[in-house]
Subunit: 206 residues, 4 copies
Amino acid sequence: MSSTKKARKRPGSGAGSARRAELLEIAAQLFATRGYAQTTVRDIADEAGILSGSLYHHFSSKETMLEEILRSFMDGLLERFQEIVAGAAAPREALDGLVRYSFTAIHEQQAAVSLYQNEIALLSRLPDFGFVEESSRRVESIWIAVLEEGRRTGDFREDLEPSLVYRFLRDAVWSSVRWYNPEGTMRHDALAEQCLLLLHTGLLAD
Amino acid sequence: MSSTKKARKRPGSGAGSARRAELLEIAAQLFATRGYAQTTVRDIADEAGILSGSLYHHFSSKETMLEEILRSFMDGLLERFQEIVAGAAAPREALDGLVRYSFTAIHEQQAAVSLYQNEIALLSRLPDFGFVEESSRRVESIWIAVLEEGRRTGDFREDLEPSLVYRFLRDAVWSSVRWYNPEGTMRHDALAEQCLLLLHTGLLAD
Amino acid sequence: MSSTKKARKRPGSGAGSARRAELLEIAAQLFATRGYAQTTVRDIADEAGILSGSLYHHFSSKETMLEEILRSFMDGLLERFQEIVAGAAAPREALDGLVRYSFTAIHEQQAAVSLYQNEIALLSRLPDFGFVEESSRRVESIWIAVLEEGRRTGDFREDLEPSLVYRFLRDAVWSSVRWYNPEGTMRHDALAEQCLLLLHTGLLAD
Amino acid sequence: MSSTKKARKRPGSGAGSARRAELLEIAAQLFATRGYAQTTVRDIADEAGILSGSLYHHFSSKETMLEEILRSFMDGLLERFQEIVAGAAAPREALDGLVRYSFTAIHEQQAAVSLYQNEIALLSRLPDFGFVEESSRRVESIWIAVLEEGRRTGDFREDLEPSLVYRFLRDAVWSSVRWYNPEGTMRHDALAEQCLLLLHTGLLAD
DNA sequence: CATGAATGAGTGTTCATTCAT
DNA sequence: TATGAATGAACACTCATTCAT
């Protein structure tokens, strides 16, 4: 649908437009809390203090806003994950880095993470959102490569399937965006340490 | 039970109506795959081979269907969890039982689990759905009680906060409904064992 | 756009629905007088005494209405033209029949003719309306075949290019829908005779 | 002329502004091909390489552009028609001149002719466009006067109603703007001759 | 039990136009 | 002269729901 449109460039399309960034921030917040489909363009416009039609001066569609929010989030995440793995001396160090940074992302980009976490089902059905699955696959292979190498080196246990560990870990980590409170007493780094503690040696006392 | 109730219900609303059950099954499936808000009553009616208006002969609203699906799921879950804990000799046995049954539920009631997992955010804003939060709280206290007792008995580590362990574990377990394939080669009980392995002694080789 | 939709069959889609026919009649009238793009679905609904959304119980889109109106008109026209040519003994008889019937169509189906006359430019750009061009081409070849045969038999002049004669004649005839008044004193058959007089032997006195 | 006028016009509205003429040219082209209503001011602005709001520096409204285009076309046409009739020795010469010049106008001012041909229905409903009907009426009386005089002098046949001949002829001639290709092999003067041939002595071989 | 016609509020989007800079 | 942000009214279309038959 949107891919066949003429895509007449919007005036404010320059990446540097401050108003655009503001509007995206508002949209991200609303998409995250109410859900993308449940957020109307009028909601966004109201929050921004303009009329809904005026949004279309900046963005060509509601979908475009979602796309832009997600793309910049996923691009940044992927880049950071690659740096972390590249800079790690051993699998365990790499894995810990990935987990710690994930909690940082949850802390700093709660809206985008929520969005990704909650709308991924919807997203897979939309064209123009192939990049999300693509990014997800790349993230997955980064984590799994770390897990597999750790198993090879003997750092990680042999009887645990890397792809399953990845899924359990990923869901445990990223789901915390639903209950994590950035202003609460439990800070994101403390959260990361508890998570790593559990991950490393498990729940049972020895 | 149904005929002696107060507010005269719709004709087919006797708990024993087979048509009702069929329709609920269809609705649950659609709600789970497309999301509640993204599923129209026409979608449900189409699938059932009737017109959308005719659904209102069986249910008073779309929300009612959701409520009914979730209530019966959560009631059953709560009951089962209580039995498991009551029948367990030790905290660890209780916890393992809870985890194992969770995977069984994911296997047997995938639609309802998905629904609960995906729509909980929406649900908290709806009146008439207080029972969901209520059930969630009761489930949470069951799990946390087990975790706390295990810490007291020395079975579980002291440096792990029960409420955090609960959240990590809950999310890891229940999120698997999103990727678990009931017809795949990885069976739900094998999944449970991998999960428990990781939970018990962690990822690191000793 | 519309061709990729699911095309869930509308309840009233049965060709026999009287309400549908009424609505199409209203739409045709409005499309013809105001133009397709300038006619809103609210205009149609207002005229029908219902709300605009209710139209979608009968038709899946505004475009669908246009399509249905035009398709039935063009199908009938084509069929009639074929009968006329098939039943004619000579090119001149065929041509006269075609012209006479055209004026009858203008009289009896003024809305559809206007629509075709005025919206053909728009139509050529819409997908799903290929059938209009297809029908137009078939009509054109019927008329041109008659003109060419007349030239071959010596009934029609040799120095007139059939394809040009066709265009001049077609436009002279069909454009009259714009000024012809079905309730006026000049009847459609008288109009046809004047047109044929001019066509046959021209304006100049001998 | 422009500086002494009453209502202070927009800056660039001096009749001599080159930018204005360019913009009108662009607008005429777009109005002709897409239709007036289907052409947005953004379309025009895009083509001109400016923003849509900037058009309002030159013209007070979209309608104004249409008006200006049509007015200059119709004024010129009327003037030319008057000259032709005034300079003709006989009705037939006058008529031939009118037809020939019409094809020239189609060739040289295709956009304006298309516009007039296609939007006349819309135009009659707009206030501020009375001048179009007024001009049309004056053109009509010129042509009909010629036809009537020809009938009086015995040059044209008696059994053909001038007002009908006018309409048939007008539509045949002007409609050709829809299919005439200025760059094609069939030149506009050849077209005029074929048209006159048919008009003069008709289609039938003698 | 189901149909078919309708409601009414809402949804994303378009577009001519305005105006401070 | 032009920009860029915004307006405000309108538009095609959706959807949960109602109800007479």
